[in-house]
């Protein structure tokens, strides 16, 4: 087994274990921490695919910014251990078969779709290429998205300030 394959399996196991732990944990902070493990493992997988820029952005944006916000809100609201209700038990019994079905379907699709992969550009060129795509070819959608986010921020401020 090559070293790369071994690293892949370690990271994949980390990601799956983190995802399972995310659902099983009863405390929101523990769930959030599990999600961070998933993000970090995914970043590692991106590195294996030689997508260095995406890996770094995955950590900076998801693990470093968005999850910090999650943890911050959980801490601020002082959320406690979640309760098990009859509804959550129903969701559990309905969810397990559905999850199994999804897994089988995914496995089937991946099995059928596995063909030769496209040639990869060198890692150094990848960042440059990504920048060209974002700021030249897709400059309009990119700017439109940023305006959308700005509108969302303004909306949040308006909602928050209404009571003051």
């Amino acid at each position: 087994m090559s070293a790369q394959l071994a690293v892949f399996f370690i990271l994949a196991a980390m990601a799956v274990a983190g995802a399972v732990s995310l659902i099983v944990q009863r405390h929101p902070i523990h769930s959030a921490l599990s999600l961070i493990v998933v993000m970090a493992a995914l970043a590692g997988l991106y590195l294996l695919l030689e997508a260095e820029f995406i890996a770094a952005i995955q950590i900076i944006v998801y693990a470093g910014a968005i999850m910090v916000l999650f943890v911050f809100v959980i801490m601020l609201l002082n959320a406690g251990v979640e309760e098990r209700t009859s509804l959550s038990r129903t969701a559990f019994y309905a969810g397990v078969p559905l999850a199994m079905f999804l897994l089988v379907e995914l496995a089937y699709r991946v099995e059928r779709a596995s063909g030769p992969m496209a040639a990869q550009p060198s890692p150094a060129a990848a960042t440059r290429g990504l920048a060209m795509l974002l700021f030249q070819d897709f400059a309009f959608p990119f700017e439109a998205t940023s305006i959308l986010i700005l509108i969302a921020i303004l909306g949040a401020i308006v909602l928050a300030k209404r009571d003051v």
Binding site: L33, E52, A56, A65, V68, M75, L76, N78
Partner: protein
């Protein structure tokens, strides 16, 4: 054995480099604390550590032993797993960024393998450093949350909000440097700063003829002080309001880990400032015949320091100091002699200039801490969002314009 060695040479060489760098880093962490206490004392007109060893030089050892032998307590009602995890996260993340810092242009021979003076020379060096520091906030936030103490929780909350806010300015302030260098690779960023304006002024990014990064450096430094939770931005600790903030409940070695983490991230941030704005390992003097004497400056500095140490040590109050200080001085002089040899003088130029610049920035860091009072929390947020971020954005716009016009 030899076949195995040949196959895993890069792994073994990296291991050796990691062990050496860990040793150097841990020693410099200990003496950075000593330096901080000395500088603080002299700013306040005191002597600082003076009892343990001559000039208090054995103080770090005494501190470490004391930390090890203190009782390690866990507060009642604490989330035990997270409570144990937090100091490890803080320290390991703070230390691991050092792996990405290049210390010199040369290469060393380890086991017959030529290898550069950096553990991981990656294409996304700068981004990787920011990725690691951006996770660093969890150590502080989780420590505050898991301690089951309102002061700790407030400290953790404050630091989480503060670090998110200042990380933005920190990352933005560096964009100007990236525009000038056109790469994320640390060694290439340094090499892009080589050369001299008018034959003597180094072309470091701070003094770049295209677009001087004065604003960028200002933003970087302020944001970096806030990111490392140091005065005047140490709202996460704020002794006067929150006892000791996020590490109120931590004792013994777990507290020491937070302590070491803070100083390790100080070193990282200073190394990064050196690389991004002060030309890394590049010498401030042009490499021409007229400035040939400048190559011997590091060696001369060691020699002068050694002689000063001998003269001072001979008049020291304790007998132990009268022996130890002159011996150290003589060792420094011998080191200077070794450095001045033709073989080593060129090789050690880079690392010595690098360390010198980092030391100057660290000194300014400590100086700022003991000079400025703490900001109020709303002032902190105001500075971050309403002042620092717009300035950093303006810097990006100005630098982009300059780069485009220069082409």
């Amino acid at each position: 054995m030899n076949a195995l060695f040949a196959r895993h040479a890069i792994l073994l060489v990296s291991m050796v480099k990691i062990v050496v760098l860990m040793f150097v880093l841990m020693t410099s962490l200990a003496y950075l604390v000593w330096l901080e206490r000395k500088v603080a004392a002299h700013i306040q007109g005191r002597w600082g550590p003076y009892r343990v060893g001559p000039h208090g030089l054995m103080q770090p050892l005494a501190d470490a032993l004391k930390f090890l032998f203190k009782e390690d307590t866990t507060p009642a009602g604490a989330d035990r797993f997270v409570y144990f995890l937090a100091p490890f996260v803080t320290l390991s993340l703070a230390i691991s960024t050092i792996a990405l810092i290049p210390f010199g242009p040369g290469a060393v021979q380890i086991f017959g393998q030529r290898t550069p003076l950096v553990i991981a020379n990656v294409n996304i060096g700068l981004l990787a450093v920011f990725a690691i520091t951006s996770i660093g906030v969890y150590g502080v936030a989780l420590a505050g949350w898991s301690s089951n103490n309102k002061y700790s929780l407030l400290g953790g909350l404050r630091s989480a909000a503060q670090m998110i806010s200042y990380e933005l300015s920190l990352t933005m302030s560096v964009a100007g440097v990236l525009l000038l260098a056109g790469t994320f690779n640390m060694s290439e960023i340094i090499m892009a700063q080589s050369g001299y304006t008018w034959g003597f002024l180094p072309r470091w990014n701070l003094l770049s003829p295209t677009a001087p990064q004065l604003l960028g450096f200002f933003c970087y430094f302020v944001a970096a002080v806030a990111e490392t939770n140091r005065l005047p931005f140490d709202l996460a600790e704020a002794e006067s309001e929150l006892v000791a903030g996020f590490h109120t409940e931590y004792s013994s070695f777990k507290f020491a880990m937070f302590f070491m983490g803070e100083y390790a991230s100080m070193i990282t941030v200073s190394c990064l400032a050196t690389i991004l704005f002060f030309g890394g390992w590049l010498s401030p003097f042009p490499q021409t015949a007229a400035f040939a004497w400048a190559r011997y400056l590091p060696a001369a500095a060691f020699g002068i320091a050694g002689i000063a140490l001998v003269l001072n040590g001979l008049r020291y109050s304790t007998a132990w100091g009268r022996v130890m200080l002159p011996v150290m001085g003589i060792l420094l002089c011998a080191l200077a002699g070794l450095l001045a040899r033709p073989g080593s003088v060129d090789f050690l130029q880079g690392p010595l200039w690098f360390v010198l610049k980092v030391l100057v920035i660290l000194f300014v860091y400590i100086w700022v801490r003991w000079t400025l009072p703490r900001f109020r929390y709303d002032q902190l947020m105001g500075i971050g969002w309403k002042f620092l971020l717009p300035v950093a954005l303006a810097n990006i716009v100005l630098t982009s314009l300059a780069v485009v016009l220069h082409k």
